[in-house]
């Protein structure tokens, strides 16, 4: 029952292969096998959204996938957003969150960012109502969301140029 299966997956452009039990959750795989601990785990039942990552470009809950299921696929995590190590390399969304004070404890933030990257790509000029709806699958306990909304508006402006 506990046999291990080889999984090869591309995360943030880099290929990794690990032997894992089929039951290992993708969230645990990213965090504890690949040491990509930016993806956070808040509920492990798909509600809080902290573990949201991009699977082939689409935001999904990594706590509701088994690592073996992503064999051969491409994942982006929060570690893959910025283009370099300096503040000016931050993704416009990260910049927006920083400038608008869109985070406090920062635990939920990676999940919000990964939800919002494709959202803004599809909706370059969203209304406040659209932003709030897009955020509604992610829980934040610190900010009351208002400054996250402002952060998204700011990021959208930046991305529109």
């Amino acid at each position: 029952m506990n046999e291990h299966i080889a999984v090869t997956v591309t995360v943030n452009g880099q290929e990794y292969t690990r032997q894992v039990e089929p039951r290992m959750l993708l969230s645990d795989f990213l965090r504890h096998e690949l040491d990509l601990t930016g993806t956070h785990v808040g509920c492990e039942h798909g509600v809080c959204g902290a573990c949201t990552i991009l699977l082939n470009g689409e935001p999904v809950r990594s706590c509701l996938l088994f690592a073996v299921q992503v064999q051969g696929q491409a994942i982006t995590t929060v570690e893959g957003l910025a283009s370099g190590p300096d503040p000016e390399d931050l993704h416009p969304l990260q910049q927006g969150f920083w400038e608008a004070h869109g985070l406090q404890c920062g635990f939920c933030t990676p999940g919000f960012l990964m939800t919002l990257v494709p959202f803004l790509e599809e909706n370059p000029d969203p209304t406040e109502a659209e932003i709030r709806e897009a955020l509604s699958g992610n829980l934040c306990r610190c900010t009351g969301y208002q400054k996250i909304v402002e952060a998204v508006q700011l990021a959208a402006e930046k991305m529109r140029g």
Binding site: E21, R23, M24, R31, H32, D35, L36, T37, G38, T39, H40, V41, G42, C43, E44, H45, V47, C48, A50, T77, V78, E79, L81, A82, P87, L90, Q94, F97, W98, E99, H101, L103, Q104, C105, G106, F107, C108, T109, P110, L113, E128, I131, R132, E133, L135, S136, G137, N138, L139, C140, R141, C142, T143, G144, Y145, Q146, K147, I148, V149
Partner: protein, 786 residues
């Protein structure tokens, strides 16, 4: 000109790490050879343990150890009492603190019964399932009032009843006030349980390094220094052999301070037993049982008033649910008792409470920490009195405000810090006026509401006030050091859970030293970096640690000026600290970089004067005489769908006075986040227990946290009435957003529904509950026992 840093909306130093996934949280700690812990927790709320069979679990491959209470030997002992009862006359207090693993009996669902240590969390959970516990179920103690009946089953059988404490505090004579009153309003109020639900669950990594005889513990605690001290004592180690690190913490809100959680006692001990690092990360299901909760109280309260709406006295008798144990003493009910008085000049007050043991998870402070209940009772009584007397609800509040010339104002009772409840400063009427203006009170009640009502729409307004006792002692400290690079490091003992300490504290230092905020490196929550302190609670970080850092920075500034005056041969008064340099005013060329000065202050050759302290460094402490009292007004307009009872908040206003503001951006964030938790508490979040005490909604699917579509944008404004109790003039702001939302919601809902005789005397509400209330259904919860 020197740049001002204090009071500026400076973006946060900590954010780039958090935004790129580089910030270290406890579960990010990976150590070689690390083992993983899972707990066997009781499904039953109240039961005798007959037998525990761990044989199968011990045999499972990958399992390293299994422990029950018996296996802990001498280490098994009840946890310490964190806060002793206050010095109030004739107080009754029965101390019963939590145990590391239940022995003989379980007292709440989720209480840990056995611990499995294995090579992975997955295996640990497999083994935990194989541990068989034979229970003899006992009837549960759930309802607060039934718990005090003589025939009630007892949570602690060595006590005569489920009474944990009994406290009476009095100011003046309520009985006399009542005799003189024109009107007496008397009602029953109920406030039910919720949970803090920080996005990060608790977690602990403990690493006993046998060769160096040193213990390192990463802990999601709000109070690392007391944890270190306690662990050292329990484990028989020197405090210098123990390092507790509270790294980035994913939200605290109070429950991350209940030392000692059973897991906090066990993990370090297990690491020493097995000589391997061990990790336990609470999962969300465990968090609903194993992390402390708050809010269950039942009040029978009355208010005596004159015909023109002046309060003559208030009487409040209430029950407080402490759950199965009471390790946090009486902090929560004392806060309820004290905060009830609010912004008002109440000449006579009688307050009596009984704390009750129940078979439910332990109660300790959660953001607001009992203040909610007091504010709820007082504000609701005022609303009911206004209605009875035909007075405007804003006017009745205005008439009873403590006037600005009566500060410091002594309420003549004892607060949670054991000091008399004395308000340091306040100015309540301008805040009320500002809130009325921002919510457009007159226009709403005179034009908009009548118009919308005529269309059949249910819109209502609420406006309430509150005070918040903040920034209590005992003390905090800080060490401020100018490094050779010219950058400044600051170490303080408190932990940080998202409050922006890395930035607001840096601003305080920047203000004194003229160094850019980005060049100031903060260390919080690491006991090896700063030895002394208490922790982050009671909205005290900015007040207590902030003033200690301020004092430390001032001391370093004095050192810099003295040294530079000698170096440059000018008077200290002629120097200024700008852009990381100290220079002669008006002569920018005559500047020394702070880094150079720091090197000179710590020379490798030459003689240093006897008694000289090396380095540009200073350590300072601050302990306020008593807490600083913040205050504010919240107002909102909401609409209820009269068919579905769904509620939409249309406008929300906060006018807040927390004295001097260090960083308005961070303050706004604190207020907005607090309001969101208040809205959750008022309308979405409720823990439902069965009659036997099992929790019926231990998941985020059924325990509803408000989302971005449920929380409105908040319009806020700030007034500044500085506190005279500390040099910065600041007051705490961490809990203010959350405190008054219950009564605000209740008032606005009542106003919107506009049904004669309908009173909202309970929180939380829900669409279902509103439906029941409108239909006049009397349930157990609201039935009048008095």
């Amino acid at each position: 000109m020197t740049t001002r840093y204090f009071g500026k909306p400076i973006k946060r130093n900590e954010d780039p790490r958090l935004l790129t996934g580089q910030a270290l949280f406890v579960d990010d700690v990976h150590l070689p050879d690390m083992l993983h812990v899972a707990f066997v927790r009781s499904d039953l709320a109240h039961a005798r343990i007959r037998r525990i069979d761990t044989a199968a679990a011990r045999e499972r491959p990958g399992v390293v150890a299994v422990y029950t209470a018996e296996d802990l030997g001498d280490y098994w002992r009840p946890g310490p009492l964190l806060v002793p009862p206050p010095p109030v006359k004739d107080i009754v207090f029965h101390q019963r603190t939590q145990v590391p693993l239940a022995k003989d009996k379980v007292r709440h669902a989720g209480e840990a019964v056995a611990m499995v240590v294995a090579e992975s969390r997955y295996i640990a959970e497999d083994a935990a399932e194989e541990i068989f516990v034979e229970y003899e179920p006992l009837p549960g103690v759930v309802d607060l009032e039934e718990a005090l009946q003589p025939d009630a089953p007892r949570v602690h059988e060595d006590l005569e009843s489920n009474l944990a404490a009994h406290v009476i505090q009095e100011k003046g004579s309520y009985a006399t006030a009542r005799e003189q009153a024109d009107v007496v309003i008397s009602r029953r109020f109920v406030y039910d349980r919720g949970t803090a639900a920080a996005m990060e669950n608790r977690g602990i990594v403990a690493h006993w390094d046998f060769k160096s005889q040193h213990l390192t513990v990463w802990d999601t605690t709000q109070a690392p220094i007391p944890i270190r001290n306690g662990l050292a004592a329990m484990l028989g180690l020197s405090e210098h052999q123990v390092r507790v690190i509270a790294p980035f913490i994913g939200g605290g809100f109070g429950p991350k301070i209940m030392m000692f959680y059973p897991e906090e006692m066990l993990l370090p001990w297990v690491s020493m037993q097995l000589k391997r690092p061990v990790k336990w990360i609470e999962d969300r299901e465990e968090n609903f049982y194993a992390t402390t909760q708050e809010r269950g109280q039942i009040h029978q309260a009355e208010m005596a008033l004159t015909q023109d709406g002046r309060i003559l006295g208030v009487k409040d008798v209430f029950l407080h649910d402490t759950g199965a144990y009471d390790p946090y003493g009486l902090t929560v009910p004392i806060n309820s008792q004290c905060t009830l008085l609010g912004c008002y000049d109440v000449p006579n007050y009688y307050s009596e409470f009984r704390v009750v043991f129940t078979n439910k998870p332990i109660v300790t402070p959660y953001r607001g920490a009992g203040r909610q209940h007091g504010v709820f009772v007082m504000e609701r009584l005022l609303d009911l009195a206004a209605r009875e007397l035909g007075l405007d609800r804003a006017e009745i509040r205005r008439r009873n405000f403590i006037p600005p010339d009566k500060f410091p104002y002594n309420n003549q009772i004892i607060y949670q810090d054991f000091a008399p409840l004395v308000y340091d400063s306040g100015n309540y009427e301008p805040a009320l006026d500002k809130a009325l203006e921002l919510i457009d009170y007159q226009r709403f009640i005179q034009e908009e509401q009548p118009r919308l009502r005529a269309e059949g729409r249910k819109v209502g307004l609420g406006i309430v006030t509150y005070v918040e006792g903040t920034g209590i002692g005992p003390y905090e400290g800080a060490r401020v050091t100018v490094e050779a690079s010219g950058k400044v490091s600051v170490a303080t003992g408190i932990g940080t859970q998202g409050q922006g300490h890395f930035t607001s504290f840096a601003q305080l230092v920047a203000e004194q030293l003229g160094v850019d905020v980005g060049d100031i490196f903060l260390v919080t929550g690491d006991t090896d970096q700063f030895y002394w302190g208490a922790g982050t609670f009671a909205s005290r970080g900015a007040v207590v640690a902030g003033n200690a850092i301020h004092a430390g920075a001032q001391a370093v500034r004095r050192k810099i000026l003295k040294m530079a005056s000698e170096e440059l041969e000018v008077a200290e008064e002629d120097l200024e600290l700008v852009d990381g340099t100290v220079r002669v005013k008006g002569v920018p060329d005559s500047a020394i970089k702070l880094g150079e000065l720091a090197v000179k202050a710590n020379p490798l050759r030459g003689a240093v004067k006897p008694d000289a302290e090396p380095g540009l460094e200073a350590t300072a402490y601050f302990g306020p005489e008593r807490g600083a009292t913040a205050s504010g007004v919240h107002a909102m307009i909401l609409e209820i769908d009269p068919e579905t009872m769904l509620v939409e908040i249309q406008k929300y206003v906060v006018v807040h006075d927390c004295g001097k503001v260090i960083n308005p951006l961070i303050l706004e964030g604190q207020i907005q986040g607090g309001v969101a938790q208040g809205i959750g508490n008022a309308f979405y979040e409720q823990l439902f227990f069965s009659e036997n005490g099992t929790l019926l909604n231990a998941s985020f699917m059924d325990y509803l946290l408000p989302t971005a579509t449920d929380v409105p944008a908040i319009i806020s404004d700030h007034l500044e009435t500085p506190s005279p109790l500390n040099p910065l003039g600041v007051k705490g702001a961490g809990e203010a957003g959350a405190i008054p939302v219950g009564p605000l919601f209740a008032q606005a809902v009542e106003d919107a529904l506009d049904i004669p005789g309908l009173e909202i005397r309970e929180i939380p509400l829900s669409p279902n509950r509103l439906f029941e209330l409108i239909r006049g259904e009397r349930t157990e919860r609201e039935a009048d026992h008095g």
